[in-house]
């Protein structure tokens, strides 16, 4: 998280605007060696004399509602006129968190919570002080309401715009008292999204919609085997296709530039490329699985070790063992990856919908050799992120093509490019063992994870590779988890909820196996084991009660549940489904969420529904497989997602919380849905699905 107030090198500063008005924001304290351009003042708020107030939004909008929620945080403390508050995406700048400026880890609100409210409160106090000076009264004799400063005991008032230029000259208050939750006017109330109308009328501009003068539409043919390179190519037929403007070789393949996207795509089909496929040309999913199985036979790095696991297993009344696995997953955001780049003598300029525009800048710097201050990045709406739009190759690819071809390009991944050239959620193979006492309660848990890492190892561990498993909240005294990294050049990446997206499935499905072996109800077992995790325990109780856990079901229907604490929030889900003719039909999902202080209930509901649909799509259908080093899937016909006719009813319960700080919601609902589904499937057919996706691994007799 890039919580600005945690960075000692930043401080809040005010500045007058050219033409009058007031800006307030953070300035970076400079180390001597840093470039002068870092002195640029990048504000969070601009207040113009005409009363227009602008929030400079340092988080991108990939559907999570950052635009609206962050406007709410500022407006709450600034007490401005909500209707006159506008916003614009921030440029990339260190003060906004660059190079890690962006939205990831469900941290958008959490990392903005304090700095944005403080900025709003301090700006308001400065406006009050400016008014108090004009009236020659103490600031305590003033108050604010809806974009105006009012003088107590009179009808006198000034608008913020009228005070802005004077306020810019005042010192920024050192400290300020923020509102208590009881004083909130906006925070916690359902507030219409500010990006909705643009998205309903075709006016919202995404990366794919970017047009710059003399721009070419470009696609890039990459080696179908990861890590392969171009040996030689013949582009004569491509160049002859009407509309094709140029063909250039770049480090990752051969790019076709054209006057329209279709010509670029059609021209690309005519390329004749000889590839050097490299060392992964024989890789297959079966081979990867063998490698994982071998790793599980050797000791891994210890991720957690509590109590005497060996003794507990030796004395166990009963033991349960299972092997679980999940496949590689692509992200398939509906807007495929794309970036627009223009390079000229003055530097490089990029336009993109990126979750981390700071990394987009870094990618372009690497390719072009240009310094930070000469690579400008503009942020546009993102047509879905889900972890895929952090770094990625598309930005450096676009910059390199623009540089080599000598013209601006909008580089687009076709859907086939996206599915076959993504950076994937790694596949994982896990061995789990539990020891039960004579009463059927678990006393020891042992797990061993084998998968590629999401991020570089630290002391042999990638915490994400074991997140949701090794850090479980269950009071089982003896627990031991090991991690064996699978070193492989298949590109991997974060995927909505990251490690929890797979490990919570393993943990929660296996816990139901433990419950069955000990003859316990799955809810009863969890409630007993969560005595020291009261918020998660409560969420589970709320979901179970709302779903009628112990009430009779309609014929043919079964329930399953799962729960997890992640991203600072606590989530429990109960699924109701039926299995008919070998197909799973999910009818209803009851989802209880405790995310602390809610900012916008509507976006919490959206994120719960969205997180569940994203996780359910993967749990039911999704699998990326490799053969001869190539991804075998290519588009939605063989890498499908949940559709309207399979959509369950989702009942979201937002639990009132005493926690005055917000928890994350963007990824929180994704992990629990897969285990809740397989737990209900087990209730329905008496067999556990230990490998996802469900549709391909349901026992034949089901």
């Amino acid at each position: 998280m890039n919580d600005l107030t945690l960075n000692r090198r930043t401080f809040l500063a005010a500045s007058a605007l050219a033409g009058g008005g007031f800006a307030l924001g953070y300035r970076v304290a400079l180390a001597a060696e840093e470039s002068a351009s870092s002195l640029e003042f990048n504000p969070f708020i601009r207040i113009a004399p005409n009363d227009t107030i602008t929030l400079i939004l340092h988080k991108p909008e990939n559907g999570q509602g950052a635009v609206t929620s962050l406007c709410m945080l500022l407006a709450e403390e600034l007490e401005c006129d909500w209707e006159r508050l506008t916003w614009e995406f921030a440029p990339v700048a260190r003060v906004y968190g660059a190079p890690m400026q962006g939205t990831f880890g469900s941290s958008g609100i959490r990392s903005s919570w304090k700095p944005l409210r403080e900025a709003g409160a301090k700006a308001r106090l400065m406006l009050q002080s400016a008014a108090a000076e004009r009236w020659n009264v103490d600031v305590a004799q003033t108050r604010t309401q809806n974009g105006r400063v009012l003088r107590n005991g009179s009808n006198d008032s000034f608008s913020y715009g009228e005070l802005a230029t004077a306020a810019a000259q005042l010192p920024v208050p050192e400290t300020v008292t923020l509102k208590t939750p009881q004083q909130y006017r906006l925070i916690g109330k359902t507030t219409p999204r500010r990006d909705t109308l643009a998205k309903l009328t075709g006016q919202a501009r995404y990366g794919i919609d970017m047009r710059v003068p003399d721009m070419a539409f470009a696609v890039l043919e990459r080696c179908p085997v990861f890590g392969g390179t171009v040996q030689s190519f013949d582009a004569a037929r491509t160049r002859a296709f009407p509309g094709v403007l140029d063909v250039v070789q770049v480090s990752r393949g051969v790019a076709v530039l054209a006057s329209n996207t279709w010509a670029a795509l059609e021209g690309r089909k005519l390329l004749d490329i000889t590839w050097d496929f490299g060392p992964l040309a024989t890789l297959s999913s079966a081979r990867i699985r063998e490698m994982q199985q071998a790793l599980l036979k050797t000791p891994g790095a210890v991720a957690r070790s509590d109590g005497d696991v060996d003794a507990a297993f030796a004395q166990a009344a009963k033991r349960v063992s299972a092997t679980y696995e999940v496949p590689y997953l692509a992200h398939t955001t509906l807007e495929p990856p794309n970036a627009t780049a223009r390079i000229d003598a003055s530097g490089a300029e990029l336009w993109s919908g990126s979750q981390i525009p700071g990394l987009c800048q870094q990618g372009a710097m690497q390719v072009t050799g240009l310094p930070e201050e000469r690579v400008k990045v503009h942020t546009l709406f993102i047509g879905g992120g889900f972890g895929s739009r952090g770094g990625g190759n598309v930005y450096s690819e676009a910059a390199e093509i623009a540089q080599v071809a000598g013209r601006a390009v909008n580089l687009l991944y076709s859907r086939e490019d996206d599915v076959q050239q993504d950076r994937y959620r790694p596949c994982s193979l896990v061995q789990l063992d539990a020891a039960l006492d004579a009463q059927g309660w678990p006393v020891a848990l042992r797990g061993h994870v084998s998968c590629q890492h999401f991020q570089p190892l630290r002391n042999g561990i990638d915490r994400e590779a074991v997140a949701g498993l090794a850090d479980n909240d269950y009071a089982i005294a003896a627990q031991h988890f090991e991690y064996s990294p699978l070193e492989l050049e298949v590109p991997t990446n974060f995927w909505r909820s990251v490690g929890a997206s797979q490990n919570v499935y393993f943990m929660e499905a296996f816990l139901d196996e433990i419950a069955a072996a000990g003859n316990k109800d799955p809810l009863e077992l969890r409630l007993r084991l969560l005595e020291r995790a009261p918020r998660l325990r409560h969420a589970l109780q709320v979901a179970a009660e709302r779903a009628g856990w112990n009430t009779p079901l309609a014929p043919g229907r079964q329930r399953g549940l799962a729960c997890v604490s992640c991203f600072g929030s606590h989530n429990a889900q109960v699924v109701e489904l039926s299995v008919e003719n070998g197909r799973v039909r999910v009818h209803k999902v009851t989802c209880a969420i405790d995310c602390g202080q809610v900012v916008n209930p509507h976006t919490v509901t959206q994120q719960m529904q969205g997180g569940i649909v994203y996780g359910l799509s993967a749990a039911l259908y999704s699998e990326i497989t490799l053969e001869n080093g190539r991804v075998q899937q290519s588009n939605f016909h063989d890498y499908d997602a949940l559709r309207m006719d399979a959509m369950p009813e989702i009942d979201v319960i937002i639990i009132p919380s005493d926690d005055p700080t917000p928890g994350g919601v963007g990824e929180t609902a994704t992990p629990a849905i897969a285990p809740a589904v397989v737990n209900a499937v087990a209730a329905a057919i008496g067999q556990r699905v230990r490998r996802l996706p469900v549709a391909k691994n349901l026992p034949a007799q089901a």
């Binding site: 559907g63 109308l197 501009r205 509309g243 006057s259 509507h602």
Partner: protein, 168 residues
């Protein structure tokens, strides 16, 4: 190259294009109407849905030559900011979009459904909308918005019937 003439959002439109070029790319790249989105290029996701003579079609697989002389409506022509289409009004009331990328296509499919079926059932909605993917998972809100749009459309029809000039 050929000159193809058709009606686009109520206005005559003429375009020079390869006859095989899909309507999607004519709209986006030649006419700069970017509200219609690319998602798959093989009629699997519905992001490119527009109306051809009032019917929902996938513009990614519709060659421009097939459009000659016919009427195309895109999301830009569905309603105006001052007079939103009932589908847009309902989508706004329910506050449906997340990333928003699929919503042009979703609304065009829904508008075509409501034009031929004033009060669609949930099963009708399943059938008409299953071709439109939403990776953000807004389906439940889309379903609610279609039912709401049906109400708004009925109110508008009633208002028109009551108006002496037959217009609102």
């Amino acid at each position: 190259m050929a000159t193809i003439t058709f009606t686009l959002n109520g206005q005559p439109q003429s375009v020079e294009a390869e006859p095989r070029m899909p309507l999607l790319w004519v709209l986006r790249d030649l006419l700069n109407l970017t509200g219609t989105k690319y998602g798959c290029g093989m009629a699997q996701c519905g992001a490119c849905t527009v109306h051809l003579d009032g019917e929902a079609i996938r513009s990614c697989l519709t060659e421009i030559s097939a459009v000659a002389g016919r009427k195309i409506t895109t999301v830009e022509g569905l309603g105006t900011l001052e007079h939103l289409h009932p589908v847009q009004q309902a989508w706004r009331e329910i506050d449906v979009p997340q990333c928003g990328y699929c919503q042009s296509g979703q609304q065009m499919s829904a508008a075509a459904l409501l034009a031929r079926n004033a009060h669609p059932s949930d099963a009708d909605i399943d059938t008409a909308m299953r071709g439109n993917l939403c990776r953000c998972g807004t389906y439940q809100m889309i379903r609610a918005a279609i039912h709401r749009a049906a109400e708004l459309q009925a109110l508008a029809v009633d208002a028109m019937a009551l108006s002496p000039e037959g217009r609102v």
